[in-house]
């Protein structure tokens, strides 16, 4: 996590020409087509958005300490949770791992000099920034209060807030996702190094490929849906308008056709990071490579068939509900297969407790909880009671924050020496991992109980009997907030003062570790030729250095 600009003048002593010191100046960053520099541009911008979204979350939790609301008016509270959702989902979680780690690593892992379309890659970042500006403008101009789901007819006819700028921001940012996904798909298909067959690819690449498929097939649907929503709000007539026979539920269908697979946009790259971390820190080949690889693809495809489970109580046909329910159970299975394979990879390994590994273990634990609580919501009978309550909030935060953000932080800690050429203080990093794990559970576990007790989400005020659990959750949130600030501080510190990192500080396999840290502009002195499977630790002599 970085907010300051990278100080290239302080590059490690005796350093080579690399992508950070090849050129200087603001222009060399803003007009770069180097995928590694673009990854850093994304890193800075999404970190900024993460803390904006996190700030809203902190205000919400503070407000909910008192049943009658401790801080703000209900109208303001409604804007807080909406802006928190919009910013975190569309501007942090969706681009998080793909646009930063994916951008940095895809060409390096497959032995290419850059992505297939470097200028398109830079354009994606600019599109992201323009979309983010629209959304931040909406925040400044008074906020938006529809919930991140923009359900009609509230969003189209009843809300008096800045719905159009927000929807426009999300619409624009969608094209950034589409172009990023397009770039990855073409790069992975066409630019692999000689000898790097599909089944020799690192599993991170499989995960990014699966994610890109969702970007390509899902994002256009949310784009057209928000476009139609904007038109309806402008013209006061449109295809979701009940007055001319429009069906507000159709909006939900189109919305969730993207937004459910989008959950897998967030978690699939995390799963890819996980496969890299678990193998490296146990020095083992992944257990069941092809099962892990194909589970990524099957998750991507099945994820498009389950969106109706968000709508079990909306008056959707109960027969359609039945189909969506069985498919939702099915999507749980490839995820379970992955967890079992990661666990089995540890067997007879040589396991070290470096900071990225602690994040990885945190991920497995929280993701298991998050995934299993999903079964409650795939089950029709229990979903009726739990839908729209804090149980949902807890469930998806276990997946998106416990899962995706833990994996993101694990990945950042793992590749940080490669990205910056500097090491961070390992003790602080382990401490932060622990604080985040504890804070997270304290924040969100009570919300499972709140949901089962019947407290609906998006409540600015609530009956007094729910106060104890809400206070616990708020206390946890403050610990979690501090947990996220610690890495921000020591990672920023390490960019200037951290000891220089060698090309391969973890003793990891993978093409990205064969080049110097930080890598040269074109990644490799010479395009490598691959002759072995991924994660072949048993037959390698690679050591830390």
């Amino acid at each position: 996590m970085s907010t300051a600009t990278i100080d290239v003048h302080e590059a490690p002593a005796g350093s080579h020409v690399n992508y950070l010191n090849a050129k200087y100046g603001v222009k060399s960053w803003l007009l770069t087509t180097d995928h590694k520099r673009i990854a850093l541009l994304y890193l800075v911008s999404i970190t900024l958005m993460f803390f904006v979204g996190g700030f809203f979350a902190v205000l919400m939790r503070l407000h909910l300490i008192e049943p009658q609301g401790a801080l703000v008016q209900p109208e303001t509270y409604n804007k807080l949770f909406t802006m928190h959702g919009v910013i975190m989902v569309f501007f942090f979680l969706v681009p998080s791992i793909p646009a930063t780690l994916g951008n940095f690593l895809v060409p390096m892992m497959i032995g290419a000099r850059d992505l297939a379309f470097p200028r398109l890659n830079l354009l994606s970042w600019y599109i992201y920034v323009i979309g983010a500006c629209f959304t931040l403008y909406a925040v400044i101009s008074g906020g938006v209060d529809t919930g991140w789901t923009f359900y009609t007819p509230y969003s189209s006819s009843f809300s008096h807030t800045s719905v159009i700028p927000t929807a426009l921001g999300v619409f624009i940012t969608g094209f950034s996702s589409i172009l990023t996904g397009l770039n990855f798909v073409v790069t992975i298909h066409k630019m692999r190094a000689p000898g790097l067959t599909w089944f020799r690819l690192p599993l991170f690449i499989w995960a990014i490929y699966a994610t890109s498929i969702i970007f390509i097939l899902g994002t256009p649907v949310i784009a057209i849906t928000l476009f139609l929503l904007g038109l309806e709000r402008l013209l006061h007539i449109g295809i979701f308008d009940p007055a001319i026979g429009g069906d507000p539920i159709l909006f939900q269908h189109l919305f969730w056709f993207y937004s459910h697979p989008a959950v897998y946009i967030m978690i699939l790259p995390g799963m890819g990071v996980m496969s890299e971390l678990v193998t490296c820190f146990s020095r083992k080949k992944i257990f069941g490579y092809s099962f892990v690889a194909f589970s990524s693809l099957s998750i991507a495809i099945i994820s498009f068939l389950v969106w109706g489970h968000h709508m079990f109580v909306t008056g959707q046909s109960i027969y359609a509900g039945l189909i969506f329910s069985v498919l939702s159970f099915m999507v749980a299975i490839p995820s379970a297969v992955k967890v079992f394979n990661w666990t089995a990879t540890l067997y007879k390994g040589s396991i070290s407790y470096d900071a990225p590994m602690l994040y990885a273990l945190g991920f497995i634990g929280l993701f298991t909880m998050g995934g299993l609580t999903g079964l409650f919501l795939a089950s029709l009978a229990t979903d009726v009671h739990l839908n729209g309550t804090y149980f949902i909030v807890a469930h998806f935060h276990y997946i998106m924050v416990g899962g995706a953000v833990m994996a993101y932080l694990g990945g950042i800690h793992f590749w940080w020496p490669k990205i910056t050429g500097r090491l961070y203080p390992d003790g602080w990093a382990r401490f932060a991992a622990l604080v985040i794990f504890v804070g997270f559970n304290l924040t969100f576990f009570p919300q499972f109980m709140l949901g089962y007790l019947g407290m609906p989400r998006r409540f600015a005020v609530y009956p007094a009997e729910f106060q104890v659990l809400n206070v616990m959750s708020s206390a946890g949130a403050s610990i979690l907030g501090i947990g996220y600030l610690i890495p921000l501080i020591y990672l920023t510190w390490s960019m200037r003062y951290g000891p220089a990192a060698g090309p391969n500080p973890w003793g990891a396999k993978g093409l990205e570790w064969t080049t110097p840290s930080p890598p040269p502009t074109e990644n490799f002195e010479e395009i490598p030729v691959v002759t072995e499977d991924a994660y072949d630790y048993a037959h390698s002599t690679v050591t830390r250095g």
Binding site: G147, G288, P463
Partner: protein
């Protein structure tokens, strides 16, 4: 063996139900069933989380790195294991799906002899009307032990009618009817929430459900001030709009006779068969063309805009009463 499992399971459920503050009040006939499924799911979650956590911790300790130059040997692949941990979760999921779906279908089907109450949601209050004509706002009085069916619609945005103690929830949509039913099993006062975000005072759109003994309920109904029942109000609107000029009760009019039509299967112009229920009657009033019957010309104009949602509900109540009168005649 099975007996002891059953005993163990009952004990677990009993223990979970006794835990204070962890289980919401269960006051309807379906709550027990939903809770049993919930406990089973909780048990599965805890079990697998425990298994995975303890395995990971065990491996972490047993196989911790003891020397920097360690090279653990390859443990290879294991197809049997892969299949096992694909198939076993699949079977568990299949079992859960069957359990949850059949329970859901059972819970979705109202008993035929239900008391009907009508609900209109609007920003940010619940309007409720009993068939006898008694109206209430943000309060719902229901008799104990009697199945109650709610027919619901919204005047503005999407709301959601949620009574946690009954484990029932359903979205309330503009332009459409949805329904839910419950049978209260415990006298008391329970929360009523709006569970679909609906604007500024969403969190204040709440109320109370009062479950009363049937005798108290009758007394409460009698004490309510009301000029006419919903059915009478509906009849008045029916006559005012001139519906009877086409819908002659002997079936010779330009439109179908409405006597006894409620609850019948009718054939539409498209050839589809549709059950005439509340939603159908509403559709026939606001969008008649979409449910035009095969045997009649599609000439009925829409009454959308001429009647509000409350009046539509009263018309629905009136048409339904025509059905029960016919049944009475049959009985004679």
């Amino acid at each position: 063996m099975i007996g002891s499992l059953q005993f163990g399971w009952n004990f677990l459920c009993f223990a979970a139900m006794q835990a204070p503050q962890l289980r919401p009040e269960a006051a309807s006939s379906i709550a027990e069933g939903v809770d049993h499924l919930y406990f089973a799911l909780t048990f599965i979650t805890l079990f697998f989380t425990f298994v995975i956590f303890s395995t990971i911790l065990f491996f972490m300790v047993k196989y911790r790195r003891r020397a920097e130059n360690e090279r653990p040997p390859d443990t290879g692949e294991h197809l049997g294991l892969e299949l096992a941990w694909t198939i076993i979760p699949t079977l568990i999921c299949a079992g859960l799906f069957v359990w949850a779906s059949s329970l859901y279908f059972e819970n979705s089907r109202p008993p035929s002899a239900s008391t009907e109450i009508f609900v209109i949601g609007k920003q940010w209050m619940w309007h409720i009307q009993h068939p006898e004509g008694v109206r209430e706002i943000n309060e719902l009085h229901v008799p104990l032990g009697v199945p109650v069916k709610l027919t619901m619609t919204s005047e503005d945005v999407i709301h959601d009618f949620y009574i946690p103690a009954f484990r029932v929830k359903k979205d309330v949509l503009p332009g459409r009817y949805t329904s839910l039913w419950f049978q209260a099993t415990k006298i008391g006062t329970y929360h009523l929430f709006c569970a679909q975000y609906c604007g500024a005072d969403h969190a204040e759109m709440l109320g109370w459900v009062y479950v009363m003994s049937p005798a108290d309920y009758e007394a409460w109904l009698a004490g309510g001030s009301t000029s006419q029942s919903m059915q009478q109000a509906g009849e008045a609107i029916f006559n005012k709009l001139g519906c009877a000029s086409c819908h002659l009760s002997d079936g010779t009019g330009r439109g179908p006779s409405l006597v006894g039509i409620y609850g019948k299967q009718e054939t539409l112009k498209s050839g589809d068969k549709r059950l005439v229920d509340e939603a159908f009657i509403r559709q026939a009033i606001v969008n008649p063309n979409s449910v035009a019957l095969q045997k009649y010309p599609a000439i009925m104009p829409t009454f959308q805009g001429q009647v509000n949602e409350e009046q539509v509900l009263q018309l629905v109540a009136y048409v339904k009463s025509l059905a029960s009168e016919e049944r009475k005649t049959d009985a004679k």
